[in-house]
Structures are given as structure tokens and as C-alpha cells.
Symmetry: C2
């Protein structure tokens, strides 16, 4: 019995402005139609693993995860929600406790949700080797054969061979991200591998090592699982207990201390799609080395990655640039500086720019909205409500709203009335009225909301009733 | 008597995407609060020239010119409208004929509307020298002292001194834009000057030389002036006649053929603000040589010009780039390729992208509108109507409209009704109804228009009445 555990807690700031805290990279389809989150799930399924997956992710992303599962027809996943981010050791512990309640002999395959692996057959081969190590009580990880002196990854040094398991070794030590000369030495040496972040272990082995080596994590996460609350199909960890767990990676908390760590060298292409430079590498290029996406025009450009979500982008006479154009932010960087984008994001956040973490399009359990224009005394939004969904019953103290339906049919509650509003009809919601928007139909509802008033912040909302319990 | 003549017919494609055919560079405030068009007018006024200016510009830009004149309180200008662009010789001829009707001894100072000149005192000095040459029957031009081997300008070779006029010379010849090695030679030689495009001549002298050297231009422009139509304060040239004038620059048509050409060397900073590289040069820079405008964040950037009209733009680890971000287009270019932007614009135009020539914000005699979102079956626009103005009486065959007033007060004609619509009120205009929007108030009117229908093109409009006679 092997259970896929998808670790989906990353925030992906190096892929800003497409990836942001509110909608991070594992949910963004940058390379193909499926997102990395979806591909990670489908990969396990393709390898013949039939057990229901466990997903550990952020409470903030719960509706994104649910929607992306629905898109790829995965209906049996358990979504375990972290109320706060506590790094990989705590996330893995939560999944292990959840599984141990059912069967602590089960083998867990922990996978970060943002890696690129194209050779499924080769993955299957090392997976079965790692599984053998796990059966023997080891916590196995894949060591990826380095193909270049990468300074963006951690490394693992291989130790002596594991008795009785093919292609498996003790781990001599974990190495932090090296500088360039050190990275060159590691690649040439032959005993060093990239740390993939994937782990394979029995639930009970992982938990007993965690108990011995990081009891603080063990105790608090155990408490957080015991006091979980189940709601709308999600398993939510207890916030108070989980918050008290130390925030440490599994490498430091367990893997580099335990004598049960094993590394299984893997010789296929693997990539942490963690920066725009990596996206450039993985995208098909023209003869001059350019990879483009969207409404992009090049003239005399070389080795560039240019991505536009909508507006026309032109690029003339440059090389080795990354240019990302989204609705509310433009990022230009040299390819060699692709890793530094996160510093820019931190700076924008510090200076109070919402573009650092929030998107124009804001996803909600019922659909999404996006602001089209916001000025001193008015704002216009496009609102999309999925079939069968409804917004909360609410009121505002500082703004009135006009809703013009431009697609589908709405049922609008306005104080004591209930109105059916069809395409090309509108309704007025005076300041202070209690109202609700609902799409009872079989097709999406799209409307244009025109707000006017002295204060137009999202926090001017009193929710009186909400089917999503916000 | 000296009359300033502002030549405002340029289209400025090298400053795309800020400058576009529908709103070209002479009307864009890139360096200071005033636009080049306004600065050119104010410069003449600052030199003590009291005569009413003549402006020659495109019919398409008539309301932009009127609005920009209003902003700087110039009320006495005559605006001469070209129905089609026919280059500088025809534009100057039109102004000369207009003036000659009143007083053909008057001296005309022809000025392109897009040059940068900061030293007014020095300009005043050479202007009085050029004026002396003009009094003696010469067609004088300023020869700007070259300060670098510029390949983007034409050059003038100085001939023998003009008898009896200080600092004035015959012109030996005009030189086309040189290549770099030729440009170096010209700069070092000392007898070559940049061609400023400014000319100073008596109206009758200019016209008699034109008659002798380019009779086709003379005859057709004379006819276009004779059959002009005056309307809403504009003097519109007759389209049929003006279209038949050859489209040639004054340099080729007159100046390099006439024996009356004179050059007045000028030793102050002058710049044709014709490309983004020039804008970078003229904008104050930080220690690393970067000039920025708008919501821009730099990290480890050198010698860049970054301009954003709205959204956040971040720039990391690059040098010598020009990055221009507008609402509907992003342009990235190496500084050395700044001149090539026009090729990109030509390509976008050829491939049918309206961004090549049109802005999101479209100016109309009554104000402006901009599209906020356009999808299959709906479009949302923001509409701004200046106090006292009104749109045409119109109807649409394929769309219905909702208008929500978010600022000011509207008077709306809807078939037989007349409605007063105040802030926070809305009105519905069903498909086919005859309607008109009017701002009778003292403050601007802003409304959000939500269109819905099967076809949303601008050409679905029947104008039944229009105070601007469109």
C-alpha cells in the first residue's frame, strides 16, 4: 500500500508576478495545460498507484485545490489544510498522523507539488527501489543526478550502500545551496546528488523518528490532527496547536539526523520549476533561443523568455531577458538575476503594494471577481459566479451597487424581495440594504458591478449568512 | 512683425506605445508638465513675440490641439487643419498663403512642435540674426552645432558668409542622415550642422521661391487655402486640392534648390525628442544612470529608461534598456535599438493590431472614453463628458446599453423622454432606441457604460444629429 502525499504549501515568489501568495506557482499552468499541482497528482496515478492521495496545503488555497482536483476528475483526495505555514516537517507529520490512524504500515510517498519530471518509466524504477528501502524501515529520498553546477538546489552526499536494497545508500550528509565553485566540485565528484524533496517512508517509521528527533513538531502536530475540524470536505488542522510547531524543513528536522535516511540515486531529468530561468529552459524555443507565450512580438531578440497574459508586448534588440506581463504588474529581469525576483517581491510587500501577494482576479468558493477600474468614488468589477453557487448574504455601510447581468441569470435577494435578473437587466442595491447574489442556473453567471460611495474597501462588508462559513 | 508657425503634423511612431497616430508625441507630456506642442507655443511667447500664432496640424487632432491651447491660455491661435498629411513643404505653404492674405511682408518663424530647447536667451540671439537674414530676403534656418556623431539627424554644410548679416552663411548643401563613420567626419569637420527643421522667412519670399521651385505644391496648396472651410474655430484646407500636392519636405522642395537659403549656426542644446533614447537623455537620472517615471522599482539596473503609465513595473539586473508600460502595450528595447521601434509599429499595424495606432483612451470633442473590458457579448466603458458638452443623437442596431452615473449629472434623451440622471443612478437604453448623452452641469460627468449585444464594434452607430458635425 503506497499513499501519494502532495505537499502544496509553497508560495513561489520567484515566479512573480504570475505566481503570488494568493495563487502560487503550483496552481499556475506555465508549461502545459495542467498545473504542476495537477501533474504531480496525475503522475502518481500514471504509475499505477491507486490509493487515494493526501494533499497538504494552505487554508487560503482550499478552493483552488478543490477546483483543480475537479478539473482532472480526482474525487477521492483528502485535503489537509494548514492554518499557517510550518515548513515541510510539520506538513509531512500531519499527513503521516492522518494515515497512521488507518494503517501505520502504509508507505507514504511525499512529493512537492512543483517539480518537473518527464521520464515516468525511470521514475517508476527508482520508486520501486525506494519502496524496498522503505519496507526495510528506511526514510528514502531520491538523489537527482546533477547535470550542471546548480547553485539553487541543496545537495546530498551519498554514503555506503544499503545492505540488500538495490541502488540505495546511506546518506553521509546534506549540503546547503553551494556557491558556484563549490557546485562545480560537487558535480564533478560523482558522490553528490540534488535534493529532490521527495521522501518515501512508512508512516510509523517517519513518526517514530520524528518523535525521537523533533518531539516539539511531533507533539504539536499530533495535537493539531486530534483537534482537526472537518468541513465542506476539508480536514482542517487545529490552528493553536499547529502554530506552535517549529517551522523547519524535514531535511534538518529528521533526514540529516536519523540513521534511517537513505538516498536512491536517480538518473532522469528532474527540475524544480522554481524560477523564470527554469521555465525558459523547459519551454520550446525558436532558433534564436526565445520562448514566448501570449501576445508577444520579437525583433532581433536572443535567449529571452517573454510571457504576456493579455496586452501586446514587443521586444527589440535584447538578449537573455525575462519579461513577464500581467494585468497589474510587469517584471523585467536578466536571466542571471531570475532568482532575485523574490527580493523585489519582498520589497513591494514591505512598501504596501498589494501586487506583491494579491492578483487582480480574486478566487472565491463561488467563482471569482476582478476589479476593472478603481477611482476615488467608484469601482467597477466583473463578477463570475459558477453554476449552483451563491455569495454570502451581506450588506455595506459605505457603498451602493449596481449590478448589470451580461451573461446567465441571477437570483438577487434585496431586503425582503427576491428578483430574477436576466442578461441585459440590472438591479440597484442601495447603501445599507441586505443582499445576496445567487446563480441557480446551469451556465455561469457574469455581471458587471458598479460600486459608488465614499469608501470602497473590501472590508466594508457585513456577512449575515454564508454557505462557505467564512 | 514675426508670426510663429507651429508645424504639428508628426506621428511620432518611434515613441510608441505612448505616442501613437491617434495621439502623437507632440501632445504627450514626457519630460515636463507641458507637452512639446505647448512648450513650442510658450517659447515664442517667452521671446516677446506677441503676434497670434498659426498652427498647422492634422484634422484628426483638432480637438486635442484646441484642448491643449485652452490649458495654457492661448486664445488667439489660428488652427489650420490638414485633411491629409503632405509633409513640411505643403504645411508651410498653407500657413504662408494664410498670412500673405493679410500681410505678405510678415516674417514667419516655422517651428516643428517636437524640439527640446532649454536656453531661451541663446535662441533669442540667433533668432534676431535669422530675422535680419529674412529681412534681406533670405530663407534662414538654424544650423545646430553637433555635439556627437548623431546618425538620426540630417546635416547642413555651411557655405560662404552672407554679406551684411552677422553669423549667417549661404548653404552649401543638405546631407541625408549619415552612417556612423560619416557622422564622425561631419562632427569633426566643423562646417556641418544639424538640420533643426526651423525656418525663418518673409511670407512672400517663401511663396515666390516655392512657386519657382515647386509649382505643383504652390498651386495645389493655394487652391486648398482658397477653398478652405471655417468651422468651430478651425480653418480646414480643401481636401481635394491639398491631397494633390506632392508630399515633400521643405528641405528638398525649396531649401536645397533656392539661392536664397541661409544657415545661422546656433550653439545651444537642441534636441529632436524623436526616440526613447532622446527621452532618456533629457530626463534626470539617478547615480546609476537610470531615469524612471511612474510606479517603477529598480534593483541593480544601469542606464535604463523605465516608464509606466499605471501598473507596477519591476526591473532587475539589466542595463541600457528602454521599458515602456502602457495600459494596453508593453515595449522593451535596447537603447541602441530605440530607432527600430517604428518597424515594430509598422508590423503591428500590418497584422491588424489596433494598439499600433489607437489608444485605449479615445479623445472626442466632448471628452473621452476608454474600454475597461471587452468580451464576446459585452463591453464596459468609462465615459467622461466635459462640462457643457454633449454626444451625438444616435442609435445602435446590435447593442443595448446601461449607463451608471458615478460622477456629475447627466441629461439623457431616450426616444421621446428626457431624463435627469444623477450620481449613483442608472438608465437603460434598449437596442434601437434613439438616445443622447449631455452634461449640462459645471463639473465633469463620469459614467460607466455596460454594452451587451451580439456585435459591439464602434461602427454600429447611426448619428442623427451632432453639434460637432461629424
Amino acid at each position: 500500500m503506497m499513499i501519494p502525499v502532495i505537499l502544496s504549501g509553497g508560495s513561489g515568489t520567484r515566479l512573480w508576478p504570475v505566481s503570488r501568495k494568493s495563487y502560487p506557482k503550483q496552481f499556475c499552468a506555465l508549461l502545459r495545460e495542467e498545473t504542476p499541482f495537477q501533474e504531480t497528482l496525475l503522475r502518481a496515478r500514471s504509475l499505477g498507484i491507486k490509493a487515494s492521495p493526501i494533499i497538504v496545503g494552505s487554508w487560503e488555497h482550499r478552493f483552488i485545490m478543490a477546483e483543480q482536483l475537479r478539473q482532472v476528475d480526482i474525487e477521492d483526495a483528502t485535503i489537509l489544510l494548514e492554518p499557517v505555514a510550518r515548513n515541510s516537517a510539520a506538513a509531512m507529520a500531519a499527513a503521516a498522523f492522518l494515515q497512521a490512524d488507518q494503517d501505520d504500515e502504509a508507505i507514504l510517498w511525499f512529493m512537492p507539488a512543483d517539480a518537473e519530471i518527464s521520464d515516468l518509466a525511470a521514475l517508476g524504477e527508482v520508486l520501486s527501489q525506494a519502496r524496498q528501502a522503505a519496507e526495510k524501515g528506511f526514510i528514502a529520498t531520491f538523489g537527482m543526478q546533477p547535470t550542471r553546477p546548480e547553485t539553487g538546489y541543496g545537495y546530498i552526499e551519498q554514503g555506503p550502500a544499503l545492505a540488500g536494497v538495490e541502488n540505495s545508500f546511506h546518506i553521509a550528509r546534506f549540503l546547503e545551496k553551494p556557491d558556484e565553485s563549490e557546485a562545480k566540485r560537487l558535480v564533478n565528484d560523482g558522490r553528490y546528488f540534488w535534493n529532490s524533496g521527495m521522501y518515501i517512508a512508512k508512516a510509523k517509521v517517519f513518526l517514530s523518528e520524528l518523535k525521537a528527533l523533533a518531539p516539539d513538531i511531533y507533539d504539536n502536530v499530533q495535537k493539531a490532527i486530534r483537534h482537526n475540524s472537518r468541513d465542506l470536505g476539508f480536514v482542517q488542522l487545529d490552528k493553536e496547536a499547529f502554530s506552535q510547531s517549529p517551522s523547519i524543513s524535514v531535511d534538518y528536522a529528521v533526514a540529516e539526523k536519523t540513521r534511517r535516511a537513505a538516498v536512491v540515486p536517480a538518473r532522469f531529468n528532474w527540475m524544480d520549476v522554481g524560477s523564470w530561468d527554469a521555465v525558459w529552459e523547459l519551454t520550446p524555443k525558436d532558433e534564436a533561443g526565445n520562448a514566448v507565450r501570449g501576445n508577444v512580438f520579437l525583433d532581433n531578440a536572443r535567449n529571452c523568455y517573454v510571457h504576456s497574459d493579455g496586452v501586446v508586448a514587443t521586444v527589440t534588440g535584447v538578449s537573455d531577458l525575462i519579461i513577464i506581463v500581467t494585468q497589474d504588474a510587469v517584471m523585467v529581469s536578466h536571466r542571471d538575476s531570475a532568482q532575485d525576483v523574490r527580493h523585489m517581491v519582498a520589497r513591494l510587500k514591505k512598501e504596501g503594494h498589494s501586487e506583491a501577494e494579491q492578483h487582480v482576479r480574486v478566487y472565491r468558493p463561488w467563482g471569482f471577481y476582478e476589479s476593472l477600474i478603481k477611482k476615488e468614488r467608484f469601482q467597477v468589477k466583473r463578477i463570475y459566479v459558477s453554476p449552483g453557487e451563491q455569495l454570502s448574504l451581506q450588506k455595506h455601510f459605505h457603498r451602493a451597487e449596481h449590478w448589470v447581468v451580461v451573461g446567465g441569470t441571477a437570483v438577487v435577494t434585496r431586503d425582503q424581495e427576491q428578483l430574477i435578473v436576466q442578461e441585459n437587466e440590472s438591479v440597484y442595491l442601495p447603501l445599507g440594504c441586505v443582499h445576496r447574489l445567487e446563480n441557480p442556473g446551469r451556465i455561469p453567471l457574469t455581471l458587471i458591478e458598479v460600486q459608488s460611495g465614499a469608501y470602497l474597501g473590501e472590508d466594508d462588508i457585513i456577512r449575515l449568512d454564508d454557505i462557505y462559513q467564512r
